[in-house]
């Protein structure tokens, strides 16, 4: 197979055919996976630039660089892009690349659908971003787009926003159908459900969550559309409608959505910790059950985002208890990761560093989650920076770190090249320090009473906000380093071995194929016998 390695550049990065139409028409899961990943990296920098604007505005009290109106557009689009344009597509990218390789399948089950679900995404975000250049400006009502701010009081571009959300939803649903079909039908002989790699398991469950809740989101935006253009009053109090109904529908989608953004991370981190501990994952089946129970519970906790809307006390208590319950499976996962490392033989390559930071910092996010679950205390926390701190801890050093870890972990397999380990470690430490500098002080200003989504703030929040802004700028710069590392790896990396990581080839099919992975893998299914750890 030396020919493959010699011509890796053409074979892998650009694939066998040349030119743009190849990317447009491709049905290859590796190509589509790469496109998803590049797309989300681009979106990361766009959404990140918006975050920089936000932090520059909040650097000091007083109006700084943008108007309050534009500030709201930044906050809204930063959230929408990071959630729908970065975290979700990136996980789908990893699913595309890795699920077929991890289950020993030649490709995804529905390759044309796969192509379509990717290509409508740039369209959706093109529409969303184009609203910045339209009259009335971009959506400005927060990523949670509560009615009636997003209906009767929205800028005219809200219709484009609705259209774009519909397309994103369609993309996610098609992607999920594909993932479920692939997992159910295309596993290598002998790979029973309970022998599937955890990343596959986590995506299997995530895909069901997506299929269940994306239509609910579509319903919510359709009702908005009707309220705006067809004279209905779903959310219009003046017409007998109910603005709180919007929030129930939104969060019935929204809470499972936040787990959609973290379950695949659980899978990724499990693999990485196992590999760099040189020890099988602890409590495989409880990991699976934990993911499944988190997914099920996530359907009955939505109103913990609505403790202050004036629910009856029975509702408050129910959603408080159910939310607290989620902490149990979450805690189980953390303990299982610790037990996997316990008595292992640990090394600290970049993917492992990010995975360890994930466990540590995700735990902090989970603990602030428990605090938020306590409904009477949430009266004080709700809609302050404390909530902003919570969800950034679970989403940045949580979901995003898992994505970075996964990229470092698998990039040698994709490109056939090793990334620069020293630069990788520099990237890790810069990200680790700046992420805490950015998000930890948010707990303090939140508790001290700073509301979220405000463009200017009272004097007592000044010091911490300046620190947060400095941290954010550092974090932003660190991610440019990541781009550099990826490019350096592709164009100038050292050759990677087949196994890449010591002992990895016993841990998953993906480590048994050449590096870079040939354009087509597993034309005939591999045998489970070849994996030691699945015995």
């Amino acid at each position: 197979m030396s020919a493959v390695i010699d011509s890796h550049h053409d074979d892998h990065h650009h694939g066998p055919a040349k030119g743009f139409s190849r990317w447009l028409y491709t049905t290859n899961h590796k190509d589509i996976g790469s496109m998803y990943l590049w797309f989300s990296l681009v979106m990361l920098f766009i959404g990140g630039a918006m975050a920089m604007v936000i932090r520059a505005e909040l650097f000091e009290p007083g109006s700084q660089i943008v108007s309050p109106e534009f500030y709201n557009q930044m906050v809204t689009n930063h959230g929408l892009i990071m959630v729908f344009g970065v975290i979700m597509p990136a996980f789908v990218g990893f699913a595309n690349w890795m699920i077929p390789m991890q289950i020993g399948a030649p490709d995804m089950a529905l390759p044309r659908l796969n192509n379509l679900s990717f290509w409508i995404l740039p369209v959706a975000f093109g529409i969303l971003l184009s609203t910045f250049f339209m009259e009335g400006g971009a959506p400005n009502f927060g990523w949670t787009f509560y009615a009636p701010l997003s209906t009767e009081y929205a800028p005219p571009t809200v219709t484009f926003f609705i259209f774009s959300v519909h397309i994103m939803g369609a993309s996610s649903i098609m992607g999920s159908i594909n993932i479920i079909t692939t997992i159910l039908n295309m596993r290598a002989p002998g790979m029973t459900l309970m022998k599937m790699p955890l990343f596959v398991w986590s995506w299997f469950i995530t895909a069901y969550l997506l299929i269940a809740v994306m239509p609910v989101l579509a319903g919510a935006v359709t009702m908005m559309l009707m309220d705006i253009h067809a004279g209905t009053s779903f959310f219009k109090a003046g017409g007998g409608g109910d603005p709180v109904l919007f929030q129930h529908i939104f969060w019935f989608f929204g809470h499972p959505e936040v787990y959609i953004m973290i379950l695949p991370a659980f899978g990724i981190v499990s693999h990485i910790i196992e590999t760099f501990s040189r020890k099988p994952i602890f409590g495989y089946s409880s990991m699976v059950y934990a993911i499944a129970s988190i997914a099920l519970l996530s359907f009955v906790v939505w109103a913990h985002h609505m403790f202050t809307v004036g629910m009856p006390i029975a509702g408050e208590l129910f959603f408080m208890y159910s939310t607290m319950l989620i902490a149990i499976p979450t805690g189980v996962k953390v303990f299982n990761w610790l037990s996997t490392m316990f008595k292992g033989s640990l090394t600290f390559e970049t993917p492992m560093l990010f995975a360890i930071a994930f466990v540590a910092l995700f735990t902090i996010g989970g603990l602030s989650g428990i605090m938020l679950a306590i409904a009477p205390a949430d009266f004080q926390y709700h809609d302050t920076y404390f909530v902003v701190a919570h969800f950034h801890y679970v989403l940045v050093p949580g979901a995003l770190f898992s994505l970075l870890a996964a990229a470092y972990y698998w990039i040698p397999k994709w490109t056939g090249k090793m990334y620069d380990e020293t630069l990788g470690k520099v990237h890790f430490w810069m990200s680790f320090i700046s992420v805490n500098l950015t998000f930890f002080p948010m707990h303090f200003v939140g508790l001290a009473g700073m509301p979220r989504r405000i463009p200017d703030y009272a004097m007592q929040f000044a010091d911490w906000n300046m620190m947060v802004s400095v941290g954010a700028f550092l974090f932003g710069i660190s991610q440019l380093l990541f781009l550099f590392i990826v490019l350096k790896c592709i164009y100038n990396g050292k050759e990677a071995t087949t196994e890449v990581w010591e002992g990895a080839k016993d841990r998953g099919f993906e480590w048994t194929v050449d590096s870079p992975a040939p354009y087509h893998t597993f034309s005939s299914p591999p045998s489970m016998e070849s994996l030691k750890s699945s015995s």
Partner: protein, 378 residues
């Protein structure tokens, strides 16, 4: 690069600043001013310490594992991958911890939801971007707007302690009284939050939510809108002044009087002769010095009002002159000196007297027109 240096310097500055006045208040929730807020604070601290303990335990265990089991020459990793007993133990442990937290949380929740009528009930309505307060029993009310100047917001004037947390007219409530708030909104969703009372209730159009408080000591309590409500969401603060019941009744009395005054202006039917009578007295007191007894003035310095175009046919400009004064002339604005009734009366008087009514349009001006002029100017 220059930016980076600048920001790192500010970071150092920020850190040192915090050492100097890094009071606990800047880091934590305030215990607040009511029994409920203190109980919620206590609950918060309980949960916080439990979470802190768990967090420290997990992070220490992790640090220990990372150090102890780092790869060493000749040491083989273990290969266990399961322990039902262990897993059951910690699952049950988590459940127990959560139950311990759920008990106090439930009891505080029940107290917070104690939703009886108040001794005083206040209707709070959120508007883009101000709060409206109406005292239901006393039937008085007002709007409360941010009073921080644009200069301060645009960094043209120094900011002070209550930057963005100050209003033109605070909500006044009595101490040692059960006050209940009925909270709603007129346009989009807002949220009324006063941290010291531990009340955060969404103000939702079409809904009336409730919250209540019982403040023991007089004081000024500040909060902000906490639900994104459009571009000036960050600029609709809440200020509540708790005063002694005596002071509170004076406040209500003044408000009621002001309201009667207002009603007089807007609801009373004024006759020309009534206005003439008041107007003549005002004219004698304020205007004769310049415009003279017969209204003929001392031209060109003090213009004659008899047969004047403005006085005879231009009512709008006539009102404007009285309200704004005339730039560069001795004529000053009377907007502050005279009440609406008095201004309307004196205008009517000059338009009617000295044969002006017969030669001009003879229109009179009623107090409401002056009021409208003032409101339109706002």
């Amino acid at each position: 690069m220059f930016r980076a240096i600048k920001y790192s310097l500010s970071l150092v500055a920020a850190l040192t600043a915090n050492v100097s006045f890094g009071a606990w208040d800047d880091l934590n929730m305030s215990p607040g001013a009511t029994q409920l807020s203190q109980e919620i604070f206590g609950l918060h601290m309980t949960v916080f310490y439990v979470c802190l303990a768990i967090g420290i335990a997990v992070l220490l265990a992790m640090a220990f594992i990372l150090f102890k089991y780092r790869k060493k020459e000749g040491v083989k990793p273990a290969d266990f991958d399961d322990s039902t007993a262990l897993e059951l133990t910690w699952t049950i442990l988590f459940a127990l911890i959560l139950i311990v937290l759920a008990v106090p949380a439930t009891s505080v929740m029940i107290k917070a939801y104690d939703d009886q009528e108040g001794d005083i009930n206040i209707l709070i309505t959120g508007h883009q971007w101000k709060w409206q307060y109406e005292y239901i029993e006393d039937e008085v009310g007002f709007f409360s707007n941010l009073s921080t100047s644009l200069d301060k917001r645009n960094n043209l004037a120094p900011k002070d302690e209550n930057y963005l947390l100050e209003v033109d007219e605070p909500l006044v409530i009595p101490t040692n009284t059960r006050v209940r708030f009925l909270i709603t909104a007129n346009d989009v969703i807002h949220s009324w939050w006063v941290p010291d009372f531990a009340i955060k209730q969404d103000a939702i159009p079409g809904f009336v939510n409730t919250g209540w408080t019982y403040v023991n000591e007089p004081g000024v309590f500040r909060g902000q809108c906490t639900e994104l409500c459009g571009q000036y969401h960050g600029y609709m603060p809440i200020v509540v002044k708790a005063v002694s019941p005596q002071e509170y009744s004076t406040f209500i009395k003044d408000k009621k009087e002001a309201k009667i005054q207002q009603a007089l202006l807007t609801e009373k039917l004024w006759s020309t002769s009534e206005l003439m009578e008041i107007g003549e007295a005002i004219y004698q007191k304020n205007c004769v010095a310049c415009h003279q007894v017969g209204g003929r003035g001392i031209p060109p310095v003090f213009p004659s009002l008899v047969g004047s175009e403005i006085v005879m046919r231009n009512k709008a400009r006539h009102i404007e002159i009285l309200m704004e004064g005339v730039q560069g002339a001795a004529m000053a604005s009377y907007a502050e000196q005279l009440s609406e009734v008095e201004i309307a009366a004196v205008i009517t008087y000059t338009r009617q007297a000295w044969g002006n009514a017969e030669t001009g349009d003879g229109k009179i001006v009623i107090p409401k027109e002056i009021l409208d002029y003032k409101t339109n100017k706002l």
